[in-house]
Symmetry: D2
Subunit: 133 residues, 4 copies
């Protein structure tokens, strides 16, 4: 089991798109995970709020950690995101939870909140479960 | 009108998240736009395919260009993406088209294709239309 | 307040599409609601499982009850549904919960389960909040 | 081939939920289909507009026809719908088009329009392709 956890940590550390955009994993458990991103200038879009793609990536990384936490490779089949509030600064937190899990498909929801705990976006995604890693 | 086009170009050039991730606008028209991204190592995730967030950002940038092309500020209310095929290299193209447009809401669809023209993801988003820019 | 509850009950009872399809409200609270549907032959599609539209309607009705429970008219702006398992008979239950709520937009998630408690579909929707009813 | 068309027609005619709700197929081709629904009182919700589930079912039926048109059983894995405009009467038309098609997944988009041709909702869904029917 320990080697599984090592492999998972390795797999997540190896997410170069998340690293490049300063997104970091802060907690992981069975079917759940938390990721953070501190907003800097290069996360902003043309109207000076965090770009939707940056929020999506933050949520997607928490989802990847949670959905890969059972020892099998999980990849997203589809995802949707609702944006509630534009933000321009501060630390954003994405919390992923398993919603349901079958033999080949699993669903996860992710909340993105700002430092005051206000929900700023809601993400949900379906993962295809593949072989063990 | 020309000043509108200038303002729009300025707004898109100012998208620091897109620039930072090497996403560039290649064409824009009324209600449509095309963006490109050449895959490099830092677009990859832990299993060595382009991270879902990178594909989302590419689509979202084409959507932002298309939805802002009418002279009014448009922001995404929600977006969904379906992933068809993992890719690891090459130039990816996102083509956004207006699907329908009302007084306050407009819907856009975006295809992401690889160099062979194979569709690798499909994105659709609803924009809220705000005041003129 | 009591008159508000009466009005809400009236509004839900007046949902002729839900009634016509034998969908009934079983519980309602602030930001949450439960609806049921016992599968009969006319809920089935061409391959003899419950039609996606019947599941959607069941979820949508629970969502309508939950999202209208605060005294303001709420209408769906968008909704998505993931289907996990085809079913052909039995009593299906949809449980709607409020996920987040702002001044004009609120998000709800709905689980649909069969009699054994197995999740068969997951629905989420964004409501626009209008004036008081 | 002719027997395939017969089987498809049979499969669609056998959709009891669509029939029960007065939804009818009006055209079908390879990867595309059109369905109609004339609004009657029992399609309405508590605020006297067509219930979201009725619109979803109309779109879903056109999608089922289009996605099953290639000789293989197709079932929806997920679907999303955006609502643009509430309607209370008239004939509604859903036009489904194939957006992309792979070995096991295919994506379809469906427009729902009123009699004036105004788009009132947009639906998109991913189908899983199973064995031949």
């Amino acid at each position: 089991m320990e080697s599984k956890i090592k492999k998972l940590e390795q797999l997540l550390k190896n997410d170069r798109f998340a690293s490049y955009n300063q997104i970091r994993l802060v907690a992981i458990g069975k079917g759940e995970a938390t990721a953070e991103m501190t907003v800097t200038e290069h996360h902003l879009n043309g109207v000076n709020i965090v770009q939707g793609g940056a929020l999506f990536t933050l949520a997607d990384f928490a989802f990847a950690a949670a959905s890969n936490s059972h020892g099998r490779i999980a990849v997203a089949a589809n995802a949707s995101i609702n944006f509630f509030k534009g933000v321009s600064s501060g630390k954003l937190t994405a919390s992923a939870k398993e919603h349901s899990s079958g033999r080949t498909l699993a669903t996860y929801t992710v909340d993105i909140s700002d430092e005051e705990g206000t929900k700023i976006a809601f993400f949900n995604a379906t993962a295809f479960l593949k072989g063990e890693y």
